[in-house]
Symmetry: C2
Subunit: 125 residues, 2 copies
Amino acid sequence: MKIIKNESLPGKAECAGSLKNVLDALYVLNGKWKLALILSLVQSSKRFNEIQHEIAGISSKVLAKELKDLELNDFIERKVYPTTPVTIIYEATGYSRTLKSVLGELSAWGEQHREKIKQSMRKQS
Amino acid sequence: MKIIKNESLPGKAECAGSLKNVLDALYVLNGKWKLALILSLVQSSKRFNEIQHEIAGISSKVLAKELKDLELNDFIERKVYPTTPVTIIYEATGYSRTLKSVLGELSAWGEQHREKIKQSMRKQS
DNA sequence: GTTAGTAGTTACCCAAAGGTAAGCCCTTAC
DNA sequence: GTAAGGGCTTACCTTTGGGTAACTACTAAC
């Protein structure tokens, strides 16, 4: 049995495919905040001010914009409870949860990356 | 049986931790192109024009900038071979390869995301 | 009546990201 | 000598992202 690699592409198709996939993923998940917001809301539903408090550094303007964006893309839901005064809760949808393994890997990587940075800082000093 | 939630934080520490990790990861991996570039070079080392051809849509200016950035952050190496004319090859470092599982997950997610988008397009039309 | 909290919106502005287009230096090919 | 490729750089411009601060509407508490 021979698998003949004709001129065309030793697995190049898959490579190009995963490249396209990554580009497509980044297209909806772009920006500084989206993945962090999704993670925060996957962990637990929250109100506007709670989110703003948890994600240090985000302004109310940007937060409002990002939340709208995420709602449009079906990552989160905005629920309004007719208490007095009204309570507004943002919660992650099931679709957000499909990102769990991505977020898991990213978090793990971020952690060891921080370690690496710390070490190279030490060397320099 | 009662599980008493004491005031203090049911796993909140880990949550905040992973949030910080993700934020840290996004700090170095920001922008439209970095992860795609790393993926492309992890798959195989390439020359400037090859990369530009593979990643459709990136301009030479942006590509040059991103490559410099990635080199500074130790994700890739720029190798110059004294052929005539000189050949310049960009290759992924071992550190880039620590991103493999992140990229794997992201690619998988991107693929099924594209499927989902296609379906919702069909519904609308 | 003043303060504080919730959930934002609005206006203004700056800086960075990114696109377009042209050019440059070097070399081989026609 | 002129075109073509490789690997960029430069200048210019637009878009966007994001920060600040003020303001709104409603309510409850002091």
